[in-house]
């Protein structure tokens, strides 16, 4: 039915990295849940000669909750997030994105790393991870490097992962006391929908001042991106409605949306402003 490919099923991480490294001119792709990749192969958007199935690479399983960091193994699924009370406590933004992610079967097999690596501007888990300052561990036969998620995307569906690399961990520092993080997915329906506008906000407050602000936007630019001017407008200040409105305008100016079948560019820009204002206001009111 679709183009044939070879499939390796390594039983450990070294085997997986070796299989990815030894392409010999072939197109080799890692596959975990396959919820994007199989669809893309059917549609001939991807034409792998060989796939490397990660289903038996147990080093990629598991979440770690350290004193200072939280990290997810590369095979952590969207459903794994939803079953974790620790994630619910530390990253409600991620839970909100996971709840409305695809359908049940997609959530059960689709991985966080796969959502990141898809490079989609509508990848719902990416805005929450960006506002948490997530960092990726990329492993290959030639070594391991870490990269801020904020530096991962180079352009529309272009990322910094080399073909021989795997995202093996996704980690972020625990937020300080008196912090909040939230996500809102605007879509045409609640279930199994592609995001029209996604906004994630993380705010930390101390002594009546916003000490840290992060705002990330999905589906409104070629990549998921942070609204850094908006963040800068908030940090170091006691927030007022006028200041929040100014930041929301800055967020809307950061995005470069397009018209498509789901919404117009103008609607997207308008909703970036409205949602940023709403989420920052809610977080500030809760914390200050």
């Amino acid at each position: 039915m679709y183009a044939p490919f070879q499939l390796d099923i390594p039983t450990d991480l070294n085997g997986a990295l070796a299989a990815l490294a030894n392409g010999g001119g072939e197109t080799v792709l890692p596959i975990a849940g396959g919820t994007n990749l199989i669809v893309d192969i059917r549609a001939k958007r991807e034409r792998p000669d060989r796939m490397v199935g990660l289903g038996e690479v147990d080093e990629l399983l598991g979440m770690e909750f350290g004193a200072e960091h939280i990290s997810l193994g590369g095979r952590t699924t969207v459903s794994d997030l939803l079953r974790s009370p620790e994630i619910a406590r530390e990253a409600p933004s991620l839970i909100e994105a996971a709840r409305l992610f695809g359908g049940l079967m997609v959530r059960n097999t689709g991985t966080v790393a796969g959502n990141i690596a898809s490079g989609s501007p509508a990848a719902d888990l990416v805005p929450p991870l960006l506002v948490l300052d997530a960092e990726l561990t990329l492993a290959s036969e030639s070594g391991t490097r870490t990269l801020a998620l904020d530096d991962y995307y180079l352009g529309y569906k272009q990322d910094a992962r080399r073909p021989d690399e795997l995202i093996t961990r996704i980690a972020w520092p625990r937020l300080p006391e008196n912090s909040a993080n939230t996500f809102y997915k605007l879509a045409r329906r609640k279930g199994d929908a592609i995001t029209v506008t996604g906004v994630a906000v993380a705010l930390s407050v101390a002594d009546g001042t916003c000490t840290r602000a992060r705002i990330a936007l999905a589906s409104v630019a070629p990549i998921v991106l942070r609204a850094k001017q908006a963040e800068a407008a908030l940090e170091g200040r006691a927030l007022t409605p006028a200041l929040i409105a100014e930041a929301a305008e800055a967020a809307a100016e950061t995005c470069t949306p397009i018209d498509d079948i789901r919404a117009s560019a103008g609607y997207r820009r308008h909703t970036v402003e409205a949602l940023t204002r709403r989420l920052v206001t809610q977080a500030w009111n809760r914390l200050a």
Binding site: M1, L7, I38, G103, L104, V106, G191
Partner: protein, 162 residues
């Protein structure tokens, strides 16, 4: 020619061998082996008609490669019960008239089983969220939601037997 491999799938408690190339999906393998109760819908992960339980977890068999299911326990809707001894979900769907053409129902019952396994007392919101990967183009969903809630009630009354 691509390599083919004989794999053993454990389907509804019985081991079955099949020889497939690497790109064959679990959906194609199951139907090739005669399990026609597993339906092919969108092949994109949107409709859930092909849902099966893989080691107890609901997956879209159209997005799962057959080789990667080797050695795992596959449960289709036929593995839950049959006409002589239907599963409470199957009985609730029949009693409640929760199917029209029926094409989506094998996948919906699999998703419903996963919802109840996860939470024996699902709210309507839990049921709706759990069915967000299943499409029914006939009935609307009201009777489907009601049948799942009824089955969950019955399964709790039976003491959690499934």
């Amino acid at each position: 020619m691509p390599e083919t491999r004989t794999i053993t799938l454990r389907i509804n408690g019985r081991e079955e061998d099949g020889r497939f190339p690497a790109h064959r999906t679990l959906l194609e393998a199951l139907r090739h082996l005669g399990h026609m109760e597993v339906k092919c819908g969108c092949e994109k992960g949107d409709c859930g008609a092909c849902a099966v339980l893989l080691d107890g977890m609901a997956v879209d068999s159209c997005l799962t490669l057959a080789w990667m299911a080797a050695g795992k326990e596959v449960t289709t809707v036929s593995g839950l019960g049959d006409l002589d001894s239907p599963h409470p979900l199957q009985r609730a769907f029949a009693d409640g008239g929760a199917a029209q053409c029926g094409y989506c129902i094998p996948g919906i019952i699999i998703a419903a089983k996963a919802i109840i396994d996860d939470n024996p007392e699902p709210s309507e919101d839990d049921i709706r969220l759990g069915l967000s990967g299943n499409l029914c183009r006939c009935t609307g969903y009201t009777k489907i939601f009601e049948a799942i809630a009824d089955a969950a009630d019955e399964m709790r009354a039976e003491g959690g037997a499934s």
